[in-house]
Symmetry: D2
Subunit: 357 residues, 4 copies
C-alpha cells in the first residue's frame, strides 16, 4: 500500500481501524507555525461519528496526540507525528467478512492483493476511520494557509435528489467559508439541510444508504499556482481527493456541465476591477491552463452511498467459491456525506499547501 | 513547469507549439518490447488535425522520430526519446495575444507566473499540440499492455446534448475496444456520430465551439492494481487525465450519478461465473477500495468547449490595464472532443502501465 | 526537514531526542512477512548506548512498539508504524546550547534554517538517537532480504590508526556476516578490537573522541540490481548512508585506492566457476556500471569523531555575536563507531530492499 | 534504467553512444534566465575528447542543440530539451563485445538485466559519452547559481601517485574557481600537472590506464541548505556524483581522514569575522548536520582507471560459457580524470541548484 501524498510536504498516514492506533507523519512543514489546537479539534469533531442520527452511533474519542515536531504549540520544522489510539472497537462484528467480501468495499481486491494477510477488522487500513489523520493534516494545513490569506470551506451540495444552493463561483467570501467550516453537516440553505436529513433518515429506516455531492471552495490563492503538464492544480487536487474512500468523481468549475456548453457561454471574460485583472464569470472554477487564475477555486466531489447496509446482499464465499447471502452486522452510517465535508476540505487544504511550499 | 508523470515509468514531455520541436522521454520502459510503428502512427493520426471539418485545417505531419532507446524496432531498456519537428507554424497570428489574454486559456496565469518569459506563440508549452507526445507514449504503453492481455479503448460519449450509447459497464470486449481505437472520431452509435458532426458544424458556422464527454474503458486488468490511501487507481489516472488541456471533470463508474443512488442500488453484488469470482453489476467502474476489481475499468472525462473562438470577446490589455475587445485570428477547432479520444486512451494506458511496472 | 527515504518502500522517520517519542513509518512493505522480534531487539540493542565504556552511560530502553501494519507478528501490507517513547532525558544539560552552537554539530545551520524554532534539546531531530528507528527499519528489511537469500553484515574497519582485518572482497560467507551482526562492537580480529577499545579509552580519559571506518558487505544479491544513470547501486546506497549523522565518506570496493591503481590491476577479470560466470577479483565492490555484478557488495563508510567532547571549545554566542568558550556538559560517547555498525547495516539493508521491490 | 535526477528541477538524460542522438530534458528551470551559450560550449569542450594525448583521439563535435524551453537565449520556464546528434561512430570496433563482457564495465550485469536487448555499441546508454548532457545541464545550472552569487570549480587532485595542491578548505575564492573551470585538465599546481601528464603518457605507452581523484568546491552558498535526515547535502550530492561512470568514492571535507582524527582536532571552532559567524577551520567541508554551514563546500571524488585497455584480458564467452581472452579494439582514454573534472563540477552544480529551488 502507498499511503503517502505530497511533493513538497509529505503526508504519510498509517493505522488500521481495529489495530492499536492510527496516525500520520507530516514531513516538510515550515518551522515557527503556532498551532491552534482548538481549531484542529473542531475539524476532528466534524468528522467524528455519533453526533446524530445521520451517522454511526460508535463513540470514537479521536484525540490526536502530537508526539514530535511541535514544541510549546509551535512547529519545530522536524516531522510532525500524530497518533490516535484506537479504543472503542468491536472486532467480533466483522468475523464473517474474512471469507465473504462486502459488495462495493475493498474486501475482495484486498484479499487477492494481500493474500489474506491484511487486517480486515473494521476495514483495516481501508477503513473510513483513516480519514481522521487526513482531517488532522488538513486542519494543520488550513492554519498555515490562513497565514497566507487563504480560506477553505465546503458544504453538502446534494444528498439523494436534494440540492443545496451552490456557491456563486465568482463571489465567495472568507466569512461564508469560515461559517461553513465551523459546523458539522454544513449546508448553505437550512431548508435543504432539513430535507437532506429526512432523506437520510428515510434510508436509515429502510436499512439502506444514500450518496451525495460535496462542493468545496478556496479563496485568496495567488495567481499561477500549479504547473503544466502533469502538475496542474486539477491533477494534484484530484489525486488527493480520490484518496478519500467513496469519492468516485471530481470536477472543477462547470465540470461535466461543460459538455453542453458553447465556447461563447463557457469562456470567462476578463475585466478590470479596482485596478486589477478580474474575471466576469468563473466557469473554469479558478483554474486556467492548470494554474490558479485568481478567481475562487471551486471543486465538486461525488460520494457514493455507504456500501455497508444491513439488508441481505449477494456475495461469494472465497474459501468454498460458493455464492452466499451476506448480512452485515455492526453499526454503519446511512450517509457519510456530512462527515466527508471536513475530509474534502482537508484534502484540498493539504493539496494546496503542498503546491505552495 | 513540471511536465513529468509516473512513479515507475517516467514520462517527460517537452516542446512549445511554435518552437523547434516537441517530444518526450519515456524512462523505465522494459527492454525487449517489439514496437509496431504502424499502430503508433494510427494513434498519432487519430489525434492529428485537418482530417475533416470538425477540426482545424492546419497540416501537421507529426512524424515521431525515435532517437534513443530502440534498436531494430525493439526497446533496449534505455530511456526512449522521441522528437517531432515543428514545421507548419504561422506565428504571426498570435502577435496580439502577448498582452491581451485569451479567455479560458492559460495566457493570463502563465503571464503572471512566467513574468512574460514564456513562449506564447500558439500557446507555447500549454498548446494542445503537446498532447501529441502523450499520444505517442500511450501508443507505446498500449503495446506493452497488449502483451499482458490488456486492451484500452474510448469513444465520444457526448457532444453538446447529443449522447452516444454508453458502454455496458460489465460487458465490454477487446473486439469492441479495438474497433473504437482504430478510427478517428469514434462513437458506438453511427447515428449519434452523425448528429454530433451536425452540432459541431453548427458551432463552426456560428464561430463558436462546443464541449463534450469521452468514455474510456480498459479490460484484462489483474485484480488488486492500485493501492490505498493515496495511490488508488482513481488518484493515479485522474492525475494524468487532468494533465490533458480542457479536461475539467473525471468520474469512475456511475460517478456523479452515485449522488442520487441508494446503497442497495449502487452496490455491485458478487457471483460465481465460470468458477471465478465475478460482479453482477459494475457501478464502481472496475475500482473498489482504490484497487482494480477485475471488472472493466470505466472512466468518463469532461472536455470543455475549445476556448479559441472567432467571435469578439472581452479581455484586458495587461500593459495598459484597460479592458479591450479581443478577436482571435488563426485556425481553431470548433470541437476538440474527437481529437481528444486517443489522448484520453493514451493517458489511461500510460497510467495503467505505470501502476503495473 | 525531509526525513523520508525510498522509491518503492518509503521510510519516514520522526521524533526529537527529548520529545515525547521517536519512531518511523515503513510504507510499501510486502504483506505476509513473519517478523522475528527477537532479531529486531538484537539490532536495537547493538546500537543502544550504555553497554560498556566505549559509549555513553545513558540508559535508553528503546523498546519499539509496533502500532500498525503487523497482525500476529505478520505484516499486513498496510504501513508499518513504530514508536519508541522517550523516557530517560535530562534536558537541563543542554540549556546553554540554545545560543552557543557546538562545533561540528548541526546547531548553527539549524539555528539559521529554523529561525530558532527547532527543538535543540539533545540535538532534537538531528540527534544520533534518531538512528534507532533506522536500525529498526533495517532489522525488518534484513528479514525480508533473508527470505531472498541475502545477508548483510558489517564490522569496525578502523578506529584511530588501529586497523581491523578487512573483508576478502571476493570471498565472504553468510556465516561470517551473521557472526558479525550478532554482537556489538563487531570486528573480524579480536586483537584489533582490543586495541581499538584502548584507543577509545585513551580518548575518553583525555575528554576527547575518535573517529573510524566501518566496512559493510552484502551477499546473495541477484545480478543487475540498480540502474543507469542516476539510480545506480552506489547512488542509492550512498544517499541513505549519508543520512547517518557523522558519516563523511562512502566508497565502494577499492574506492579511493583506485586513484593509484592501473587499469590492468584494477579490472576484475571474469572466469567460469561451477558452470557460472564469476569474478576473479572484486575491486569494484560488487557494482559494475551501477549494477550489482554478482560478487559481494562491499562498501566502506567514514565516521567522524563524536563532536561532543568535554574539553572547552571556542564558539560564538548567537545573541550577543561575541566569541565564547563552550564547555559541553552531559554524557557523550568518546567513540560512536561501534554503535554505528548496526546503523550502517540497517541503511544498506533498507537501501537494498528498496531497490529489490 | 532510470536516468532521472532531481526533486525540484528534474534532469532526464537519454541516448546511446552509437544511437542517433543523446541529450537531456531539464524540467523545472526558472523562466527568464539569460543563457550565455559560449560558457556552455567551454564546459562541453573541456569534457570532449581528442584535445591531447591524455584522451581518446575520437572527434566528437558535441554541439548541443536546444529544441525547446529557450526563446531568444532566455529560458521560457517550459522544459528545456537539448539534443546532440551522434556523428562520428565506428560501431564495428565493438562487435565481439556482445558475448564477451569487458572487465570492470557494465557489460555483464547489463547483459543479464536487459536480456541482450540493450544497445552495447560503444557502451550504449552506459557510455561515458552520456556525461555530455550532464555537463550541459551543469553548465546551465552554473549560470543560474552565478546569479545567486555561487561559484563552482574543480581540479584534478591526484592521478596515480601524483598529488596536486589541495584547496585551502576555509579560504577559496571565486577567482580561483573560475580560473580552474575555464580550462581543460585543470590543476592548482602546474608542476603537478606536468607530472600527471607524464604518468598518463606512461600508462598509454603500456596500453594501460590510470585512475585519480577530483576535488571540487562551491562557495557563496547560503547557510542551511539541505535537510535532515535523508535530504542532507551529502546525500543529494553523492547521489548525483555516483551517477558519473567510474566514480567509486565520495567524501566531504576531511572524509576518510576523519578516521584517524581526534574530536579536538576535527571540530571546526566558531569565531566572529567581520561581524559575522565564521568557522576557524573547515574539516567538515562546509556541511554540518547535513546542512551547509556557510564555509566552502569541499568534496572529493575517486575515479577508477579507465576499464578499456588494449592489453589482453581474461573474460568469458556468455554464449559458450567458456573462458576467453579479450582484446579490446578501438580508441580509449588512458585516463579520464581530466575530462571528468567538468562532469564533477556539473553534477555538483546541478545538485546544488536542485536543493536551492
Amino acid at each position: 500500500m502507498s499511503s503517502e501524498f505530497g511533493k513538497n510536504i509529505k503526508l504519510s498516514i498509517f493505522g488500521e481501524s481495529h489495530g492499536r492506533a492510527i496516525g500520520c507523519v507530516i514531513d516538510g512543514l515550515p518551522s515557527g507555525i503556532k498551532l491552534d489546537m482548538d481549531k484542529i479539534y473542531v475539524d476532528m469533531s466534524r468528522r467524528a461519528p455519533g453526533k446524530d442520527k445521520t451517522s454511526t452511533p460508535r463513540l470514537e474519542k479521536d484525540i490526536p496526540n502530537i508526539i514530535s515536531g511541535v514544541l510549546d504549540n509551535v512547529t519545530t520544522g522536524a516531522p510532525l507525528a500524530m497518533v490516535i489510539e484506537n479504543t472503542n472497537t468491536q472486532s467480533g462484528d466483522y468475523s464473517n467478512l474474512m471469507t465473504v467480501p462486502r459488495p462495493s468495499h475493498s474486501d475482495y481486491p484486498a484479499y487477492v492483493k494481500y493474500d489474506g494477510n491484511n487486517d480486515i477488522r473494521g476495514g483495516g487500513h481501508f477503513s473510513g476511520r483513516l480519514t481522521a489523520p487526513l482531517v488532522f493534516a488538513g486542519a494543520v494545513a488550513k492554519q498555515v494557509l490562513a497565514q497566507k490569506g487563504i480560506t477553505v470551506g465546503a458544504h453538502i451540495a446534494k444528498i439523494g435528489s436534494v440540492q443545496d444552493e451552490m456557491f456563486d463561483k465568482n463571489n465567495i467570501t472568507a466569512e461564508q467559508l469560515n461559517k461553513l467550516s465551523a459546523v458539522a453537516f454544513s449546508t448553505i440553505s437550512s431548508q435543504a439541510q432539513k430535507k437532506m436529513r429526512e432523506v437520510i433518515e428515510e434510508a436509515r429506516m429502510k436499512q439502506d444508504s444514500v450518496g451525495g455531492i460535496i462542493e468545496c471552495a478556496a479563496i485568496g490563492l495567488p495567481v499561477g499556482l500549479g504547473a503544466n503538464i502533469f502538475s496542474t492544480v486539477e491533477s494534484q487536487l484530484s489525486s488527493i481527493l480520490f484518496g478519500i474512500p467513496a469519492v468516485k468523481g471530481v470536477e472543477f468549475g462547470a465540470g461535466f456541465d461543460f459538455a453542453e456548453m458553447k465556447g461563447s457561454q463557457a469562456n470567462d471574460a476578463y475585466c478590470i476591477k479596482n485596478g486589477k485583472v478580474a474575471l466576469k464569470t468563473n466557469n473554469n472554477g479558478g483554474v486556467l491552463g492548470g494554474m490558479t487564475s485568481g478567481a475562487p477555486l471551486v471543486v465538486s466531489v461525488a460520494i457514493k452511498p455507504t456500501p455497508s447496509i444491513s439488508q441481505p446482499q449477494q456475495s461469494v464465499n472465497l474459501q468454498t467459491m460458493q455464492e452466499e447471502t451476506l448480512v452485515i452486522q455492526g453499526r454503519h452510517d446511512p450517509c457519510i456525506v456530512g462527515r466527508a465535508v471536513p475530509v474534502v476540505e482537508a484534502a484540498i487544504a493539504f493539496g494546496l499547501l503542498d503546491m505552495m511550499m
